[in-house]
Amino acid sequence: MTSELDIFVGNTTLIDEDVYRLWLDGYSVSDAVALRVRSGILEQTGATAAVLQSDTMDHYRTFHMLERLLHAPPKLLHQLIFQIPPSRQALLIERYYAFDEAFVREVLGKKLSKGTKKDLDDISTKTGITLKSCRRQFDNFKRVFKVVEEMRGSLVDNIQQHFLLSDRLSRDYAAIVFFANNRFETGKKKLQYLSFGDFAFCAELMIQNWTLGAVGEAPTDPDSQVDDMDVDLDKEFLQDLKELKVLVADKDLLDLHKSLVCTTLRGKLTVFSEMEANFKNLSRGLVNVAAKLTHNKDVRDLFVDLVEKFVEPCRSDHWPLADVRLFLNQYSASVHSLDGFRHQALWDRYMGTLRGCLLRLYHD
């Protein structure tokens, strides 16, 4: 005796959170049943394996039908087929768009293209996340990217409005979109110690300060091509960053800068002598990173450069984080006292963000 057909349809759609998680994690029905059996649910409820199988199938079918709607969450809210309480709708959406840290680290900054999609097999093997789940997460990234890529206005707001995600998740997606768009390199070995949270933090700072939207005024020219205000870095700003080069190119300026910093920090740093010895190297590194940002290739390597030029030297000298903070504060502030330097605003826009990023990136 075999069941040809076995369905359960409630007026209010039943959502089992545990099964939803298994489905999102990409388990097949039989794997999901096995996992549920292992969770001890049979003992708790006195159900049989057959019941569990039928229940799991049913939920999977429901989720499969809901998936189409989850691709455009506002549709889920307005559709009439599934009656789902608003709190449950929010849960469905939030969980569907949630992603694994391990996975996002693999694709962060990569082009969300077919090519990357083909690599999902490897990512799946590497991370232990099922291929199905990888695909869902990848497609989510890509879908959000496509929708908000060309959109004007705040990136986070756009994501929130079109995908009804929580504030936290919207910010994460903003970072993913921003990284994908600027193709920042995050996969290098020396960057492996950084978490998604570190990158997302930097992305947020960069979106706030380095993009066109950050300037706070819409382009006056209506035919302007710069529509994606939050997604692309402010080209003009990057161009201007070349002007900072004078800080290291002009020997007097560099010495003056160094003496200003050293005077203030003397006695306050545990690693003062190392700082003093390294000042010129560090300053050169930071300013050169800025000057190089006109080239796309160098933009992509921003994080590699920052780690190579600043984080690693400091770490090898065992700077404590507090010292790094003191140094960076003083390093940026002292520039205001350099009379010969005319690009104070530009420096602040650059260094303000970079300081935040560096502090976040500076850990083991």
Partner: protein, 1041 residues
């Protein structure tokens, strides 16, 4: 030309992409009613078109208004080729045709296509202007209200219950017309949907005419069914109960009900009760109670005067049924003579109601049923459906005569059904024979003897159990005792009925769902041979189903079945029987005896051991069940009751017949007549299997209860969380060597597993009760069994449930000493033994029965009065001066209807879709229905030629049922409602052809669209209706002050 229909097409959304090139759609809408069609402009390149059309006006006869559905078709404009249909919406405008229901239909409707399912939504506004029609010979019946609910709808009062109305219309099935060979499946499906819509409109109109003829204004318990007879045509038939209803307009009238999630309390405290004294029986004493119990007989004097000629003939004393027995002969003769009598006048004194106004039901005789096997032939002339009419008339005659044989003049809880396989059709009808109180019937005159009976019936809570038939001339052998409640009248040992548990019945413990399941193989045969084979099998099926029911009832330690529904389904090579009912322990009926197993070959030692082992298992199960369902009946002293009338004991309470083979199965005797114990002989494998199947029924997991009636006896603290669901299973039987036993086991497993799955799925709702569990079995193909279940899960408050349990426990403690399993088998001896040690004096017992007499268990009354206090408290706070200006405005409008309407739309955070509840029950726990918006009756066909792509049969049907729910909800929401009550899925015909990757499904659903208000909201409203509205309340609840 008495009506103008106005339609406006506002907008569309989520339309499918019809133009692959642009990924957009150029949509426009055709609006069709009758033969008139209007079109909107084409809205270019959008998936969310905003047509905002003018008002399309149709000037039509009201006859057409009733028959025709409004048909809205959404199309994609195509310059070069034919326009592509996106989908359709059919809107039944009937709810707009009577004044009290909806005034406008406005909202988003899913656009439905029979091949693709729902494809986007369309926003439509529909209005009707009706002109007064003074034509006496009119063909329309606008204004007659229809209700699917099988009780008097909650915000109405029954003035007169007129009786049975039925009608059927036949037509050729478009699916089987020659043209079907050349048209597309879509066109064929749409032709069918449209035809059925037309036919049900026509049917409703015709029934409405009959109601008007009877001077009624409503049909309650309206049940419409389709018979897909294939080649021979399509039959749409309906039955219902014509009534004259009065709207309860004062808020006070509905306020009382709002405290009661349980139905029991709904009518009792106020509605039924014109004299305020009733409630003054604060701590109930037997004396006061008596004053109460005489009050309903007010109507008696009025009616007896109109039938005084009969008085001389009627029995003078109503105390013992012995006297009634003596005059049994004349009584029956009298009944026959009474052509004047309201009921006899009627061709069929049938009522489709299952719950009644208090006092309506006097006695219940038992279940009456009739089946007939017919060979279908082509319906030659659709305008004259005489054959089908004659078939049903024949069956109804039979039901009527069965009822008469039970000494009853009416049949309640009446229903009809069919099962069709190829050209063979089984017609079934069943109901409960009953004696009714003529007070509610037209012409209100019934013989005095009936009124005499009414007077006898005074102790409420047991009256309906008293036998209506003549004791010395019983229609079947039965085991009678004096009523355990009033001790004056005879009651049977078990009672089977098709109705809901009367609200005033005294029940011990909780009830449970009891099912009998049975399969019988049948040889494949053609035409008459087939029909003969089936009719030969039927009596045995009925008999076995009945035996199973009886066994299971005993095993549960219960003595009555309510809501009994026996379904016999015919297939190519087998017959299936499925009986569902809710078992309860009625306090008025004797304690059921146990089940005793007897072997035929007592010599064999191991065999005897086996038997005693089984016996022990059965006894254990009974004991366990008694504990589970809290069946601890109050101690009764057998001496008072007297020894049972010596009579050949027989368990059959069913009166059956088959028209082709009229052998009365009741003659078969199974019982041994040893006390109350019910003897099962296991002399062959069949019986052994019976015993096994008895024991394999697993009780629901802890926290779950189930019943197929409206409410669960013993649970009355429902919370507002409900979940209606439909579950479908199709199982393929392995065709090899099928035996009856294997079949039975398969079928049994199928049903049990289905139930287990439901319990598992709904585990988050514990503690919860599955109510109105409705199983339907069909045999779509040779080896396929399809079981469809619709039910509603309702959670209840565990804490309060515990309280009631506690009182039960207390009760049971008092008699704990006698409570052992031997008692179950020999209740008579043990009970009489235990009398001396009886812990409480008879007086106390008296008190207890008295309190139950009033129909309100003490606990409930407490709740009731405290609720009144609450309301009064609130009213007083307002009187003390917190009345704001808005309050006076509220006061000015007598109903504050608009206010409710606003409230009824539940606030749904950032979602435009309002919640619509669906339930097969006639009420919504924790809420009060304030308005009935009209009947919902929808028929859908869905077909696919890409079954695999849609997720196989399960994916296909799952999506379709979800879509049906969505369309029902959308229609209700458009009517301004927020719930469907008395929802039923009447048909779910599923056919598949996996080889061709095709499947088709037909679904027919119906229900009543309503507006409900949460009780919590209502309390706020009630405080806003100050003194004026509270006045009657306070009068009713004088006790509490």
């Amino acid at each position: 030309m008495p009506g103008k229909l106005k339609v406006k097409i506002v907008a569309g959304r989520h339309l499918p992409v019809m133009d692959r090139a642009s990924d957009l759609t150029d949509a426009f809408v055709e609006v069709k009613f009758g033969n008139t069609t209007f079109k909107t402009d084409v809205y270019l390149k959008s998936l969310n078109p905003q047509w905002n059309s003018e008002w399309f006006k149709f000037e039509v006869d009201d006859e057409d208004l009733q028959d025709e559905p409004l048909q809205i078709t959404v199309l994609d404009h195509d310059t070069y080729s034919a326009n592509d249909a996106i989908g359709k919406v059919y809107i039944d405008i009937d709810p707009l045709l009577y004044s009290e229901a909806a005034t406008v239909i406005s909202g988003w409707f899913p656009i439905y296509d029979t091949i693709h399912g729902i494809r986007g939504e369309i926003n439509v506004i529909v209005k009707v202007d009706l002109f007064n029609d003074l034509n006496r010979f009119r063909q329309s019946s606008c204004g007659v209200k229809f209700f699917c609910t099988t009780s008097i709808p909650k915000c109405y009062r029954a003035v007169i219950i007129h009786g049975f109305v039925e009608e059927l219309v036949v037509n050729e099935d478009p699916e089987y017309q020659w043209i079907d060979r050349i048209r597309t499946p879509r066109a064929s499906n749409e032709a069918r949907q449209r035809l059925i819509s037309l036919m049900s409109g026509e049917l409703q109109r015709k029934i409405g005419l009959k109601v008007l003829e009877m001077r009624g204004n409503a049909v309650v318990g309206y049940l419409q069914c389709f018979d897909l007879e294939g080649e021979s045509g399509l039959v749409v038939r309906a039955i219902g109960t014509a009534c004259t209803l009065d709207k309860l307009s004062s808020p006070a009238a509905f306020l009382p009900a709002c405290n009661s999630p349980s139905k029991e309390m709904k009518e009792i405290p106020f509605n039924e009760d014109p004299n305020p004294n009733t409630h003054s029986s604060g701590p109930s004493t037997p004396l006061k109670n008596q004053t109460y119990s005489f009050s309903p007989s007010k109507s008696y004097s009025r009616q007896s005067s109109s039938s005084d000629t009969d008085l001389s003939l009627t029995p003078k004393t109503g105390m013992g049924s012995g006297s009634a027995g003596k005059e049994g002969g004349p009584f029956k003769a009298l009944l026959r003579q009474q052509t004047q009598s309201a009921l006899e006048q009627r061709e069929f004194p049938f009522f489709t109601l299952t719950a009644f106004p208090p006092g309506f039901l006097v006695h219940v005789g038992g279940v009456v049923s009739a089946r007939s096997v017919k060979l279908l032939d082509r319906i030659h002339n659709p305008d004259e459906p005489e054959t089908r009419d004659a078939w049903w008339a024949e069956i109804r005659q039979e039901i009527k005569s069965h009822a008469k044989a039970l000494g009853c003049h009416a049949v309640v809880g009446y229903s009809e059904s069919t099962s069709i396989c190829e050209e063979v059709c089984i017609l079934s009808a069943s109901g409960t024979a009953a004696v009714l109180n003529p007070r509610f019937l037209q012409d209100g005159t019934l013989e005095g003897c009936l009124e005499q009976r009414l007077e006898e019936n005074l102790p409420v809570g047991c009256g309906f159990c008293h036998i209506p038939y003549d004791e010395l001339n019983m229609p079947f052998p039965a085991h009678l005792t004096y009523c355990y409640n009033c001790r004056k009248q005879k009651v049977p040992d078990v009672l089977f009925t098709t109705i809901d548990l009367p609200t005033d019945a005294t029940v011990v413990g909780k009830g449970c769902l009891i099912q009998a399941r049975l399969c019988r193989l049948k040889k494949k045969a053609q035409a008459e041979a087939n029909a003969t084979a089936i009719s030969n099998l039927l009596p045995f099926m009925e008999y076995e189903v009945h035996t199973q029911l009886m066994n299971k009832l005993k095993l549960k330690g219960m003595n009555a079945l309510f809501g009994l529904r026996i379904q016999i389904t015919v297939g190519e090579n087998m017959l299936m029987g499925l009986a569902s009912a809710t078992g309860v322990y009625l306090a008025a009926l004797p304690t059921p005896g146990g089940i005793q197993i007897a072997g035929k070959t007592p010599n064999d030692g191991s065999y005897e051991q086996h038997i005693s082992h089984m016996q022990k298992k059965i006894n254990d199960t009974i004991a366990k069940n008694k504990e589970l369902y809290e069946i601890n009946p109050p101690e009764t002293s057998e001496e008072l009751i007297g020894s049972p009338i010596p009579e050949p004991r027989q368990h059959s309470r069913l009166l059956r017949s088959q028209s082709e083979s009229s052998d009365e199965v009741t003659e078969l005797d199974l019982s041994h007549g040893k006390k109350d114990a019910f003897v099962l002989e296991i002399d062959d494998t069949d019986a052994l299997e019976d015993v096994h199947s008895l024991l394999t029924d697993v009780p629901p997991p802890p926290g779950f209860y189930s019943c197929n009636t409206e409410i669960m006896p013993g649970i009355n603290n429902w919370t507002s969380e409900i979940q209606m669901f439909t579950s479908v299973r199709v199982t393929r039987l392995s065709s090899l060597n099928l035996t009856n036993q294997a079949l039975n086991k398969n079928f049994n497993d199928l049903c049990e597993n289905l139930l287990k799955s439901l319990y598992f799925k709904l585990r988050s709702m514990i503690p919860c009760c599955l109510c109105h569990v409705n199983f339907t079995v069909s045999l779509p193909e040779d080896e396929l069994i399809q079981v469809t279940v619709t039910a509603v899960a309702i959670t209840f408050d565990k804490n309060q449930a515990l309280q009631t349990t506690k009182t039960h426990v207390e009760k049971s403690l008092q008699r704990a000493s006698t409570d052992n399993e031997e008692l179950l088998q020999f209740p008579l001896e043990l009970c009489s033994d235990s009398i001396p040690s009886h812990p409480f004096p008879p007086a106390k017992e008296h008190l207890e029965s008295a309190s139950s007499n009033s129909g309100i268990p003490a606990a409930q009354r407490d709740r009731c009065s405290s609720w009144i206090e609450l309301i009064k408290l609130k009213a007083q706070t307002i009187r003390r001066g917190s009345i704001k200006t808005t309050v006076t405005v509220e006061k000015a409008s007598p109903m504050g209807e608009g206010n409710f309407r606003n409230r009824s739309a539940p606030p749904c955070a950032n979602s435009t879709v309002g919640v619509v509840k669906m339930t097969p029950l006639s009420f919504i726990p924790g809420a009060k229905i304030t308005k009935y918006l009209g009947i919902i009756n929808m028929f859908f066909i869905r077909e696919t030629t890409s079954l695999r792509e849609e997720g196989g049969v399960s994916g296909f049907l799952h999506a379709f049922i979800a879509e049906v729910f969505a369309m029902v909800r959308a229609h209700v929401a458009a009517l301004g409602g927020n719930a469907v009550v008395s929802y039923i899925m009447k048909q779910c015909v599923f056919m598949e052809n996996p080889n061709k990757n095709q499947a088709q499904c037909l679904i027919n659903v119906s229900g009543d669209a309503v507006v409900f208000v949460r009780e919590s909201d209502l309390e706020v409203v009630s405080t806003q209706h100050p003194t004026a509205n509270c006045q009657p309340l306070c009068a009713g609840g004088e006790v509490t002050t």
